[in-house]
């Protein structure tokens, strides 16, 4: 299908759109062999945290980065990979994705569905995971769509295409929940003649749900207190998955990720979080963040945004390509995300645009698709930079990654090569079609 303006308009609704699934033929897991020690040498190492190291080396042991620097010693048994002077970056992290979910992006039958678990829809055989991998993406946050004010709980994956499902889940990643606001819930429920059909309705529905969750927590707290005090006749309240999930929001157990375009709505969400005592992790899309960057910085809320996507709907009309850098300069954590199976394949190019629009430095641009994105997901201590102790999720690039010309040559996840451009076929050593 041609990428006509109409197609783009449809894409614009992407978080509520059906994500077309590229179904792979059934592929059995082909687990990588036990980790060998690997030494990548002669690379231009872009660490994302402490500058570039020319002729640098990275020593990988047990899937982790064990040493980084100009002079790195590794045991003779380590497999040596000569990067031939090519650039080496951390694996790219996509902090807003809907790939590999078949059509199950939105449970758009009720505006409040916090108990929907994206892992239940995760299709680990979807070739979209491979397409991202070939673009250097090693970790993605798969989010519920934005049809609902409170959608569901995300799953964090590593792009180990060819491995089995559980091997692709990011171990120990914190739980994230997707909220939304603005046009999408209005349109979805307004279109059915239901509440909400306005921004008033949107926020009322959200507030109502949070009040119910407070009541639910109170009932359980009272019950727990009775039990604690030895009351043998205490009756437990009914378990309610939906309210349980919201109670976890109020308890601060979930990272709250909010689909939000307009600056006024960002301020309302910040106020509501304050009112109910939970914390926001990030606004997603956040195309008007530049208008309220001081307030976002003060509230400690990050943004996961596009570099230059705009004009696809009314609430994207004030989008400007300087948004990311203007917000960053005010102290906001800024990530560039894909929200699209297409952009997921070239996030490096999207990040490079911030160097032109606003003058991000090379390291700042790189951080927007690595460390800052990891922060949005809450895995910044695990991935997102080339530092000792982090997962060995790395990309060797043909060409300069922050340009039109950067293409992943090899992609490592947990120290294993999952993509190698020089290989024939799909270029994946751990995957064979039809396995």
């Amino acid at each position: 299908m041609a990428m006509s303006a109409i197609a783009v308009a449809t894409l614009a609704m992407i978080t509520i759109a059906v994500v077309a699934a590229a179904q792979a033929a059934p592929a059995a897991a082909n687990e990588p062999a036990a980790h060998n020690e690997v030494l990548i040498k002669n690379a231009m190492v872009m660490t994302a945290t402490h500058g570039n190291i020319a002729n640098g080396s990275v020593y990988i042991k047990d899937g982790k980065i064990a040493a980084v620097g100009k002079d790195v010693s590794a045991p003779a048994s380590a497999t040596v990979i000569d990067a031939g002077g090519k650039y080496l970056t951390p694996g790219i992290i996509d902090s807003h994705s809907h790939i590999a979910l078949d059509s199950d992006v939105n449970e758009a039958t009720n505006p409040i569905t916090p108990h929907m678990m994206m892992i239940d829809a995760f299709d680990y055989q979807d070739k979209e995971i491979y397409h991202g991998l070939a673009g250097g993406v090693t970790t993605s946050l798969l989010l519920h769509g934005s049809a609902n004010m409170i959608g569901g709980q995300a799953v964090v994956i590593k792009h180990k295409y060819g491995a089995n499902r559980d091997a692709m889940l990011f171990p120990g990643a914190p739980r994230s929940i997707k909220f939304a606001s603005g046009e999408n819930p209005k349109r979805v429920y307004g279109g059915k003649d239901q509440l909400p059909s306005t921004r008033m309705g949107n926020f009322e529905v959200q507030r109502e749900a949070l009040v119910q969750a407070q009541d639910y927590m109170r009932e359980w707290d009272a019950y727990d207190a009775k039990v604690k005090s030895g009351d043998k006749d205490a009756t437990a309240p009914k378990h309610d998955l939906k309210l349980e999930a919201l109670a976890d929001v109020l308890r601060g157990k979930l990272l709250v990720q909010i689909h939000c375009y307009r600056s006024d709505e960002m301020l309302t969400e910040i106020a509501m979080a304050k009112e109910f005592g939970y914390k926001l992790r990030a606004f997603h899309h956040a195309l008007e963040a530049y208008k309220v960057a001081d307030q976002l910085a003060a509230a400690g809320v990050g943004i996961a945004t596009f570099s230059d996507w705009w004009g696809y709907k009314q609430e994207a009309w004030d989008a400007i390509p300087w948004n990311a850098v203007l917000a960053m300069r005010k102290g906001v954590h800024v990530a560039i995300k894909s929200d699209s199976e297409d952009f997921a394949r070239r996030l490096n190019q999207e990040a490079a645009k911030t160097m032109r629009y606003g003058g991000a430095t090379e390291e700042e641009a790189l951080k927007m698709i690595t460390l800052n994105a990891a922060w949005i997901i809450g895995v910044e201590d695990r991935v997102g930079s080339i530092d000792v102790g982090k997962d060995a999720d790395l990309v060797i690039w043909d060409g300069y990654p922050l340009s039109s010309y950067g293409v992943p040559n090899r992609v490592f996840i947990d120290g294993d090569v999952y993509f190698d451009r020089s290989l024939p076929g799909f270029g994946m050593p751990h995957y064979k079609e039809g396995m």
């Binding site: 299908m1 041609a2 990428m3 006509s4 303006a5 109409i6 783009v8 308009a9 614009a12 609704m13 590229a22 179904q23 792979a24 033929a25 070739k127 979209e128 491979y130 397409h131 070939a134 673009g135 046009e183 530049y290 208008k291 230059d308 996507w309 705009w310 004009g311 696809y312 709907k313 009314q314 994207a316 009309w317 004030d318 989008a319 400007i320 390509p321 300087w322 203007l326 199976e341 297409d342 394949r345 070239r346 190019q349 490079a352 645009k353 160097m355 032109r356 043909d398 060409g399 922050l402 340009s403 039109s404 010309y405 950067g406 293409v407 076929g425 799909f426 270029g427 079609e433």
Partner: protein, 456 residues
């Protein structure tokens, strides 16, 4: 729209815009010289430390600094360290047909009520004041094909536009420059349950309907030809003396023939059936491509190909057709059976086979990213010069405007871009765009919002 700038600041800005316009007006009268830049001529290589002279909207001199005479009264702009190249041409956009694509009332993409709509002309909808246009030319895109949407097999006719001008009139350089014929399956009316579907809901239907439309147009042309012949006969013989045997038949006296009823739809197809104008034949996969080409051959259409994104298995066949290809977009997702770079490498594979290619954004808001697509294709084997050509001279040649556009050559329209580096890399900042020799203000709704909120 929520522009809430302080009154004072707006006033200041208006004054500065007015001043700028004065500068433009004055500059127009004098020759403008771009001195010291690296000139990417596209037609005759790169000139380091070059000079380009613009006068009366045209390029009047191009060459090495040592060889070009600088007119005495010229305004000389030092562009040393800059790269100078021809304005970029996007070979398919919806510029001027949309403002906010999710807001239907701002869209004029396509008439979906019927498939055969060759009498739709995008120039009737082209919105010269669209805010999307300044955003696009800010990145050095100066010309574009504006095409209707692709959900009809024959959605209407394209125009070739210039992205600056006093009015739509001035910006529409070539009206009805070409006609898209879309055959990708997307045009089938096959949504919803069976009882809701309309003809044509299959590819058989699409092809049959197209064939009938062309036959109808041929018949229509024949009716007019017959009429013209009869009319000529009539004109020739109406004053002749009646033959003796007709003498008493007053009522059988010669009457002028009555013309056929005009049919705008069929009339619109005639220049294409006569091979006078270009059909843009769109298909993605090899089966559709061959069906569409078969139809085009059947009716002797002159055509270029569009997309061919998933036709990798028949690229030699594509080359054998000896027609240009508007490629991609190369960002089209690969099919599950394809390697990740199957579409990325298409421009290189076609060029290798001697096919002339051009890039297109197939978009309005993202047209500004056109050059990066060309750059990305070089990472998959497309030679750099071919990539640049595919957004300049090749496009100008395909659309029949190479005498005016597409390269830095004497006599061509001065659509010229000055940037601080490689035009195909997204890090490059475009510093100044000239369209028909006019220095275009480097502002847009987006720069105004930026300035407003960043305190500039």
């Amino acid at each position: 729209m929520r522009e809430t700038c302080a009154v004072g600041r707006c006033a200041v800005r208006l004054v500065s815009v007015a001043l700028l316009l004065c500068v433009v007006a004055v500059a127009q009268q004098k020759p403008v010289v771009l001195r010291g830049g690296k000139l990417l001529t596209v037609s005759h290589g790169t000139i380091e430390n070059g000079v380009l002279v613009i006068e009366n909207g045209k390029i009047v001199a191009v060459g090495a600094a040592s060889s070009v005479h600088i007119p005495k009264d010229a305004r000389v702009i030092d562009v040393s360290g800059m790269t100078v190249y021809p304005g970029l041409i996007d070979s398919e956009t919806q510029l001027g047909l949309t403002e906010i694509s999710g807001e239907e009332m701002t869209n004029d993409f396509i008439e979906p009520s019927e498939e055969i709509m060759p009498h739709m002309h995008v120039y009737d909808a082209f919105h010269a004041e669209s805010e999307v246009i300044p955003v696009t030319r800010y990145n050095g895109i100066t010309n574009a094909i504006v095409a209707p949407g692709s959900r009809d097999t024959l959605p209407g006719q394209d125009s070739f536009v210039q992205l600056a001008g006093k009015s739509a009139e001035e910006m529409l350089l070539v009206r009805d420059v070409a006609m898209p014929l879309n055959f990708s399956g997307e045009q089938r009316r096959n949504q919803g349950p069976f009882d809701r579907r309309k003809f044509p809901s299959t590819r058989m239907g699409l092809a049959a309907q197209l064939r009938q439309a062309f036959l109808d147009a041929q018949d229509y042309a024949q009716h007019w030809a017959d009429y013209d012949r009869k009319k000529a006969d009539y004109e020739k013989t109406k004053n002749d003396a009646p033959k003796p045997e007709d003498k008493n038949k007053e009522k059988d006296k010669k009457q002028p023939p009555s013309p056929p009823k005009r049919d705008l739809k069929l009339e619109a197809l005639l220049p294409y059936l006569q091979g006078k104008k270009l059909v843009v034949l769109a298909a993605d996969e090899s089966n559709d491509l061959q069906t569409a080409v078969g139809l085009a051959h059947e009716f002797n259409l002159k055509f270029v190909l569009n997309h061919v994104s998933h036709a990798q298995s028949v690229l030699d066949y594509v080359a054998s057709l000896k027609v240009p290809v508007i490629v991609g977009p190369i960002y089209e997702d690969p099919k599950p059976y394809e390697r990740f770079d199957a579409v990325y490498s298409l421009p290189a594979e076609l060029t290798k086979r001697g096919v002339k290619i051009a890039f297109a954004s197939f978009d309005a808001h993202n047209s500004r990213n056109l050059p990066y697509q060309a750059g990305f294709a070089t990472a998959f084997g497309l030679p750099y010069d071919d990539a640049l050509k595919a957004i300049t001279l090749n496009a100008a040649e395909i659309w029949g405007v190479a005498d005016k556009l597409g390269s830095l050559d004497v006599g061509k329209t001065a659509n010229v871009v000055v940037a601080n580096g490689d035009p195909l890399d997204m890090k490059t900042d475009v510093k100044q765009v000239f369209i028909a020799g006019q220095e275009i203000p480097m502002t847009s709704r987006q720069t105004r919002l930026r300035d407003q909120y960043s305190g500039q």
